[in-house]
């Protein structure tokens, strides 16, 4: 489908400094979960800079603190200690209201299990963040339709999530994350529940968003194809970042990918 470049530009105003500006900075982030008397150290001091327009993949076995890191840099939870800056703002200093604004406008979330609202249609799901942002429904409908077309779901706007395939649901979730033209997209295992072909399409979509619109994409993934397309790969283990590398520096045939 040919994309309307003008409309695209309007949707995502390009940043002149795209490239090396640090959009997320985590400094010595620690997170401790307390369950009764048991303390679980999910993160043990993670420091990372994420740059604007970067396509970052995070790898790590389950229980490594990957999801916790995701929640921290996505502003979904606050760290026990350490600082998280999103767009140079310390999120610890934000109140509920400002955090909600941040989650609404700055960051788009794509969850592993989609987390679409089952009682709403595809279109309504995409319109929801727009209405939270205060857009009137006519405008929101037009914009949502445009985004749905962008992700290749323009033909099924009025279907409920339950009536869509996994790939289509994931596209809908991606469309929803794009609703308020975010600077950052956080995707947790976006291709894990998809077949190979749709997974590839999803990866292409992410690459397109990064290349054309300068959106920063952060994804937790084990998908080799996705890793190969990313700009940088982080390994996280037992609450620490153990390695960071460009895909070109990585031997994808080695044992660390199994």
């Amino acid at each position: 489908m040919p994309l309307d470049q003008q409309k695209l530009n309007a949707l995502f105003p390009a940043s002149e400094e795209a490239g090396r500006r640090c959009i997320i900075r985590a400094v010595d982030v620690r997170k401790v979960y307390r369950m009764g008397k048991v303390e679980t150290h999910a993160l043990r001091g993670v420091t990372v800079d994420i740059y604007e327009g970067e396509y970052l993949s995070i790898m790590g076995p389950s229980g490594s603190g990957k999801s916790t890191l995701f929640n921290m840099i996505g502003g979904l939870a606050k760290p026990t200690s350490g600082k998280v800056y999103i767009d140079q703002v310390d999120i610890a200093h934000l109140d509920h209201n400002e955090l909600a604004w941040l989650r609404c406008r700055k960051i788009g979330y794509v969850f592993q299990n989609y987390n679409l609202i089952q009682v709403m249609t595809c279109l309504e799901n995409v319109m929801l963040p727009m209405s939270f942002a205060g857009l009137d429904s006519e405008e929101a409908r037009d914009k949502a339709m445009y985004i749905l077309k962008l992700v290749g779901l323009g033909h099924r706007p009025l279907h409920k999530p339950a009536e869509l395939s996994g790939g289509q649901q994931q596209r809908c979730a991606l469309a929803r994350s794009l609703a308020n033209s975010p600077d950052i997209i956080l995707a947790d295992e976006p291709t894990a529940n998809l077949d190979m072909h749709t997974g590839e399409e999803m990866i292409e979509l992410f690459a397109m968003l990064r290349d054309e619109l300068g959106v920063t994409i952060i994804s937790a993934t084990h998908d080799l194809k996705m890793l190969k397309r990313s700009d940088r790969i982080l390994w996280i283990e037992d609450g620490h970042i153990v390695r960071a590398a460009k895909p070109s520096e990585v031997d994808f045939g080695s044992g660390e990918f199994h």
Binding site: L76, A77, A100, W101, L102, Q118, V119, M120, F132
Partner: protein, 343 residues
């Protein structure tokens, strides 16, 4: 170009209302289950209240019937059967229910007519009650009644007694204070309660009040628990949805609004249906034991309306109160935690 963080916009209530309506429409089955909790609770409360008023009505009715019969038998013991005869009535003021009933009973016993002096009875049929001047009342009548609120005149009895077939004057209340009349038989139809009888009646009334009060308290408790449970269920099953909405930028305030609007709606619709079911159920069950006519006669629309309003108010308030806890849990939830939950 670091952009400054702004405050998230407060959405108008209509947006929350739209989301609530959509949720209810889609999850109709679930909504009906929640609604049934409210309906059952309020139906229980309403049937207790209605049943109480029916029982009171029926027992008052039965008491008044017995009292009417007692009064009439007291009268017929003095003047013989009243059928086909004319009786005089001096109404001193407005009649009470008992006196109105007595007038009705006289008509049932085929008294030919009542000569009526004073304010006419409200429920009496024309043709039976015949207005007459204070001076002419009693002319050609079998006996004379003094009814109504007020004090009997101290004079003029000679003239009134002159026209009576039987020199009998019956007052319906002690308080009417008939003067001494040596030439006539004066009787008072109002029952004289002995102190121990009064005491026994008071105790019985107190027991009844206590028992019905207790039942109402229990029924309110049942209602609260039913509604709370229903509201809690409807929140817990939506933890994930709430978490998602928070991730997408919904304010805690907005989440609270959604739950309170839903609670109000559920409370209102459920209570309305509950009131209806409660009244129907109580009326149907009491009709079996007392008969439809008596039950319908003892139901006053005013009382029903008051009880209905109380139940409706209770339903809405209870639903909203029941939603406070779940709504605050939902709105305070950290989005990450809400997404993790697997309910």
């Amino acid at each position: 170009m670091p952009s400054s963080i702004q405050n998230q916009v407060r959405l108008p209530l209509s947006v929350a209302f739209g989301i609530v309506m959509q949720g209810i429409r889609i999850r109709m089955g679930r909504a009906i289950v929640t609604l049934m909790g409210v309906v059952l609770g309020i139906a229980f409360l309403m049937s207790i209240l209605t049943g109480q008023s029916i029982r009171q009505g029926v027992s008052r009715e039965a008491e008044m019937r017995a009292e009417g019969n007692r009064m009439l038998s007291f009268l017929t013991a003095e003047i013989g059967p009243v059928e086909g005869r004319t009786l005089g009535v001096i109404a001193l003021g407005p009649l009470n229910d008992m006196e109105l009933r007595l007038v009705g009973e006289l008509r049932n016993r085929r008294v030919a007519r009542l000569q009526w002096a004073g304010p006419p009875p409200t429920r009496a049929a024309a043709g039976f009650v015949q207005p007459a001047g204070d001076a002419s009342v009693g002319q050609g009548a079998a006996a004379l009644f003094v009814m109504g609120e007020g004090t009997a005149p101290g004079t003029g009895w000679e003239a009134r007694l002159a026209g009576l077939e039987q020199k009998v004057v019956a007052v319906t209340r002690h308080a009417q204070g008939l003067p001494e009349m040596p030439k006539a038989v004066t009787i008072c139809l109002e029952r004289e309660w002995q102190p121990d009888e009064v005491h026994a009646r008071n105790i019985a009334a107190m027991r009844l009040r206590f028992r019905t009060g207790w039942i109402i308290v229990i029924s309110l408790l049942v209602t609260v628990i039913g509604i709370c449970n229903a509201m809690l269920m409807s929140v817990t099953e939506r933890f994930r949805e709430i978490g998602t909405m928070k991730c997408l930028g919904a304010l805690s305030q907005f989440i609270r609004e959604v739950f309170f609007i839903e609670a109000c709606l559920m409370g209102f619709v459920g209570s309305l249906a509950g009131c209806l079911f409660g009244i129907l159920f109580a009326a149907a069950t009491y009709s079996v034991s007392f008969g439809v006519g008596l039950v319908l006669a003892s139901l006053s629309p005013g009382t029903l309306l008051v009880h209905g309003a109380v139940s409706l108010g209770a339903g809405v308030i209870l639903a909203v109160v029941a939603a406070i806890y779940p709504a605050s849990v939902a709105s305070r939830m950290v989005p990450a935690a809400a997404l993790r939950s697997t309910i």
